[in-house]
Amino acid sequence: MEWDWDFVWQIMPTLLEGFKITILATVLGAMVAGILGLAIALARRSSIAALSRSVGFFAEFIRGTPLLVQLYFIFYVLPDIGIRLAPLVAGVIGIGLHYATYTAEVYRAGIENVPRGQWEAAKAANLTERQTWIHVILPQAIPPMIPALANYFIAMFKETPLLSAITVLELMNQAKSIANSNYRYIEPMTLVGVFFLVISLISVIGLRCLEERYARLDD
């Protein structure tokens, strides 16, 4: 079968329609992952052993199991216990939760990277807990985290095609339905690959800039 440019232009609007949903899912997922990750990181630092242990195990469990199965779990199991979610909402929660366990590690490393002396100096200067976090710890902890967080958000963007398995009409799903109704796989599947590759390559360049701007976490 030959590559057909006419067919490419014909399916482009549908693919772009799906691409919008892909972007939407990525942005919403990144927000969930960003906030939930911080919550997990703070819970793991908690002095209540029961809380930090159970959150730690939960995060470990999420990281050791496939995102696809977690999405199925949210999409199929939760309705049985009375929580009915729209596919996109279920997808955003699933992908956000999965990546929150990764971003939590970034937050943890970032906070731990702030030297002990800073905490002690804050205490010596008689700052309150709140002041210590807002004026001393976070301003030093956050900049090195930014490239690492961005890295996970790019990874998350690449995983969004999995949402098609729970009937979210994003890029991959649109491509699949085009392919199935026309029985032409080459153009839609290749275009999906190209879309993702182009965006990823651009974001990798952006990431390099971020890394240069803010020092890397592991250095």
Binding site: M1, F61, G64, T65, P66, L67, L68, V69, Q70, Y72, F73, Y76, V77, D80, K158, E159, P161, L162, A165, M172, K176, A179, Y185, I186, M189, T190, V192, G193, F196, L197, S200, L201, V204
Partner: protein, 219 residues
């Protein structure tokens, strides 16, 4: 009860497929990682460029997109693969691209003085790599390889979408036949977690073995 044992054996059959995929995928990924990783350090520009293109391509798109491309588009190019072959190929090449960066990083992390000492001792390039650099670089790679292997295990769930009867696929079969969602999905989540745990335990043991006798040598 006997019905459930029937369904459980179905899931366990799927678990075997998942394990098989993980092993074969990891083997391919390991080979590819070393070839591409060392190629990126080559003297020749063409070899370096080829390896870089491969790595960027496979890291720029997700395993899902690659798998669909391999399974649905390659047949039009005259290369028809069974779902298992497509799965192993896509998983191996995808994770291999990540592994290649690990190999490159570990080899570059070995100090220059080692290379200079090899030159002073008149070792050939092959001897330098085989006897001096790689034995020191290997222990550095293992922890990240462990993470990559777990990522590969999680990636295997995606092959259920090209109708390979792995654990996730079988859980969907059980869901379709019984209408029950909680038991099949919880079972496979636990099994995946168990496998991830087995991989990290195995890798830790391997790391322990390989670094034996290196104490005091490594910085």
């Amino acid at each position: 009860m006997s019905v459930w044992s029937g369904y459980l054996s179905l899931i366990l059959q799927g678990a075997l497929v998942t394990i098989e995929l993980t092993f074969m995928g990891s083997a391919l990924a390991l080979v590819v990682a070393f070839i591409a990783g060392l190629a990126r350090l080559s003297r020749f520009f063409a070899v370096r460029a080829l390896a870089t293109a491969y790595i960027e391509f496979f890291r720029g798109t997700s395993i899902f997109v690659q798998l669909f491309w391999v399974y649905f588009v390659l047949p039009f190019a005259g290369l028809t693969l069974t779902p298992l072959q497509a799965g192993v190929l896509a998983l191996g090449l995808n994770v291999g691209a990540y592994g290649a960066e690990v190999v490159r990083g570990a080899v570059k992390a070995i100090g220059r003085e080692q290379t200079e000492a090899c030159i002073a001792l008149n070792l050939s390039r092959f001897q330098r790599m085989r006897y001096i650099i790689l034995p020191q670089a290997l222990p550095l790679m293992l922890p990240t390889f462990c993470n990559n292997a777990i990522e590969l295990l999680k990636g295997t769930a995606v092959v259920s979408l090209i109708s390979l009867t792995d654990m996730t696929f079988q859980a969907q079969v059980v869901r379709a036949q019984t209408g029950d969602t909680l038991i099949p999905f919880t079972t496979i989540l636990l099994l995946y977690f168990l496998m991830a745990w087995a991989i990290s335990t195995g890798m830790r043991w391997l790391e322990h073995r390989m670094t034996r006798g290196l104490d005091g040598v490594r910085v």
